[in-house]
Amino acid sequence: MDLVNRVLDKGVVIQGDITISVAGVDLVYLGLNAVLTSVATAKERLGRKGIDVFGGERAPGADRSA
């Protein structure tokens, strides 16, 4: 539990590439303490809705996430 408490809940946080742009607002999708699905599944599901999931994969008209 000491390990989980530290590695999951503490430490440096740098926003990576697992973000979604929705209407130009960046959202951190995968909460590190409550990951619900794999990145592949997330890309598959969210890509169908036309949301920019990863840098380089843009839906038409969507802003690039930071």
Partner: protein, 229 residues
Amino acid sequence: MVRLYCIRRRGQAPPPQGLRGVAGEIVRLLEDGPLGAWVSAGDDETSPSVERLRQHDAVVREALRTATPLPVRYGSSFASEGRLLDALRERSEQWLETLERVGGHVEMGMQVRWVTEPEPPALPENAGSERPPRSGREYLERRRRSRESEDRLRREAADALDRVDAELARPELRSVRTLLPRSGVAGLVAHLVQSSSIQAYREQVRRVNAAFTDLDVEASGPWAPYSFV
């Protein structure tokens, strides 16, 4: 995809050859400006299993053997090395200041458990064998009792940590507290300790443990300074 484990100063020892991290991926060094980063190839699996957390921490621990790193929280992945380096550059001054602050230190922990666990908080309304409240007034009274018992438990936990801190008598140590992390545990205390003083810290915690009959106090670590970055 690139997974990030920790940040260090440029020029410090690189990962040992053959070191493997999460999902068995080889750990390597990326350097940019004054900073270095220990990284590996990432994968699409992001669920934080205990095994993957151990693998992540094992890499951070290896870095800690040669110089205090800034441990990165599990799950920091980037689409490319370039994007990772861009993210590091944005706050490079901040990372350097933090490295300066924690350099030469490790994180040690104290777990403070009650020997006899206090009475748990009153169950909230509609839980278990309690019948549903018959009126709004009864509902609110139950909520008040539940909150009061939660507050009482938190005060008891804080009091336990205060007593342990007083016995440890190291007010100069930077510390971070977590109250009631799980059942039976009053709290966790993380201390930032000089790397040369790990054994002395452990002995002090053993002495503290012996001073109490109602609490069990146990040391853990050394850890990379997760709580102080």
